[in-house]
Symmetry: C2
Subunit: 420 residues, 2 copies
């Protein structure tokens, strides 16, 4: 029987050139976070179906690859729905497994716990260009730290990692707080139960502009006046902590007392510790996920305008699983997006090793070849990358292919010395 040569629908084989870039990015991320005291962890790719369907994943729960029960547990005759057939599934994100992991192991983990989790996740999304059904996620979380030290560390570590990956590009961190967003709405005259809608409209600023946002707000039944006031507050972007403190004064009576100062401190500390990070208080930043409770942030690569990392504080999520609230703050790096940017040459990779190909003529005496192998071993021990390969009949084509694979230096060995 012939085998199916293509990968399953929506998933991809990764060729050597892309693997080099993926490994390079992974190494930079791991080394950086490790230097900040983050600990790598791993959870199985397969998760209990009950956990996956526990309403923590939003729409992702519709996209689960479910795993069939095995042996006697699979009772096809009496199965009525597909959920009778599956006892587990492939994880659709790393946050749910992290919550389970923390609930399971908190007693043997340091507090606060700084976790780095890198792994594949699966979503049975409609296949489309550049989006795959198996992809890598890369999450950093600090669990058990209620102070803004968590935010400061996450921003410093993430911008350090991104700067190591793309040393020639600048990065821009936009920061906000869900509490400020809420106070902005309340102080503008919106009611408590309108806030959710206000966030959804405000989140579209990038796409539909000020007029569009205003139109949506008015459509929700808000007064013209409230909408204008809210839009006015959204303009108070600032690159200094002073701007945040002023916003705090404007929102006095609507904002918890320490909230603005908390954010201002984060800005000051990041600037003090990392002078090269461009940090912007941005009252238009909302971020989609419903579970954020405080600070939110997003990192964009300058010049490209796309977000390459984002996250925030979500103090109420772990409690839903463990029954006890645990302060939590996290960042997710857009691993696949960064790989795409590197593949398309959007940023230069630093420090590639020179790769040499040593080609030998067919029929070279075994002893001479052994000598060549020995020399290659010595050079590799010095840190060089050396491929030893038999010369093909079409040497020119062979070298072209090797060049495509990144080999820049060639050495040739012939039976007769004269040919060299």
């Amino acid at each position: 029987m012939g085998l199916k040569k293509k990968p399953v629908t929506g998933m991809k084989d990764i060729l050597p050139a892309e693997m080099e870039i993926r490994d390079y990015v992974l190494n930079q991320i791991k080394e950086t976070y490790r230097s900040f005291g983050f600990s790598a962890i791993e959870t199985p790719c397969v998760e209990h179906i009950e956990n996956l369907l526990s309403k923590q994943g939003g729409d992702n729960e519709k996209l689960i690859f479910k795993v069939l029960k095995r042996g006697e547990k699979l009772d096809l005759a009496s199965a009525e729905t597909e959920n009778d057939l599956a006892d587990s599934g492939l994880r659709y994100d790393l946050t749910l497994p992290l919550s389970r992991y923390y609930a399971n192991h908190a007693a043997s983990l340091p507090s606060p716990f700084k976790a780095l989790q890198i792994g594949s996740v699966w979503r049975a999304d409609r296949p489309q260009k550049g989006r795959f059904r198996q992809f890598m996620q890369c999450d950093i979380d600090i669990l058990g730290d209620a102070t803004n030290q968590a935010e400061i560390e996450l921003i410093l570590a993430t911008t350090t990692a991104l700067s190591r990956i793309c040393p020639n590009n600048g990065f821009e961190v936009r920061i906000n707080d869900r509490q400020i967003l809420k106070a902005m709405a309340l102080s503008s005259g919106f009611a408590e139960d309108e806030i959710e809608k206000v966030f959804i409209a405000a989140d579209k600023m990038d796409k539909i502009g000020e007029d569009g946002v205003k139109a949506e707000l008015v459509e929700y039944g808000c007064s013209d006046n409230a909408a204008d006031k809210y839009l006015e507050l959204m303009k108070k972007t600032s690159e200094t902590s002073e701007g945040v403190r002023q916003m705090g004064e404007l929102l006095a009576g609507f904002l918890p007392e320490q909230a603005a100062e908390n954010l201002a401190e984060i800005m000051d500390a990041v600037k003090e510790a990392a002078g090269n990070v461009r940090l912007i208080f941005d009252p238009t930043l909302v971020r989609g996920m419903g579970y954020y409770t405080g600070t939110i942030f997003e990192v964009a690569m300058e010049g490209l305008g796309v977000s390459v990392a984002g996250g925030g504080r979500y103090d109420k999520m772990i409690g839903k699983f463990t029954g006890m609230d645990t302060p939590a703050c996290g960042f997710s790096i857009g691993f696949e997006r960064i790989v795409t940017i590197l593949l398309e040459g959007g940023c230069k990779v630093a420090g590639e090793k020179v790769k040499e190909a040593w080609l030998y003529e067919k029929g070279l005496p075994a002893q001479r070849l052994a000598g060549i192998m020995k020399e290659a071993m010595d050079r590799r021990a010095e840190g060089r990358v050396i491929l030893v390969a038999q010369m093909n009949k079409n040497k020119k084509f062979q070298k072209e292919q090797l060049s495509k694979d990144g080999y820049q230096e060639f050495k040739e060995f012939y039976k007769e010395e004269l040919k060299r």
Copy 2:
């Protein structure tokens, strides 16, 4: 709803201490193979069910985690067997996906192609101590090279990787050839159709000893004389290529002409290029898998006696999928076994970085804390690992826990300088 805290049956969460060892082993493997010109590749964890059930996996095909069809494709009402419900499954090894990958991409890969594939595989085995249903495999294969250069490179690269992982342990490579095993049986008087059984009996030498093997051979209906002659040949272990050449002479007429010389050359070349590798021609080495066609080899860690890597030549396998035979030779490193040895202290890990924990008293002024963060950033840029964390009330317990996590140096920061 409460979440299930334990991982799914038979799979495990990996704690930080084990992750450090896993990452260390992975890095050594990747760097070493890369220096030999191997290219990392990746295939999806999910594979077509038709491929997984194509009889290349032996008993592993009974242990597949099958993935449920989705949407309209899942027709529960008309499904008669479980295979009507699944369109894919989790891979049970990396060799089958490698064959599919090579069939799919050969045109854009160099020839010969030197592949390094590291990834998780899944087998729904009966859960037992130390064996898990998700585990890591690490395979190195050279595809498209019919010469013994492939074997030489694989042995050199693998022993180099193992020596880097455990620099203080010796390694022993045992090597044989399926053709020699076959010729040994034929020259002893066994018939062609008895060879399979002879291999199975010979493979048990470790466990049941010479008498046991002889008893099994005689039980199969072999003559006492044939069994004795075969057992005599099995004793011709040798640490020099001369021993292999002598075996070739003993088997003249039964062994293809170049076979012994081919193996002798491998031994000479490996010794020339890597003087520290102990290489033993071992006529008792069989290795279980049926697909080997030529050289076979196994690496053991000296002192522990367990095999940590094994492999061989399998020139007929890829042809079963592509319709065109492709010479192939590969090594599989026992990744999980090596991690276990390291976890149990069986070999010392080299070059661990010193980890420092900087603890600050609660309530330290924000500006002072920012200065500490800045200093930590500078030290990290120099390559140090520094955790900055708030001091817990029970500082002693906190430090004990951090020590367990590998932090050896501590620095403390107080509000009042005097307390230091």
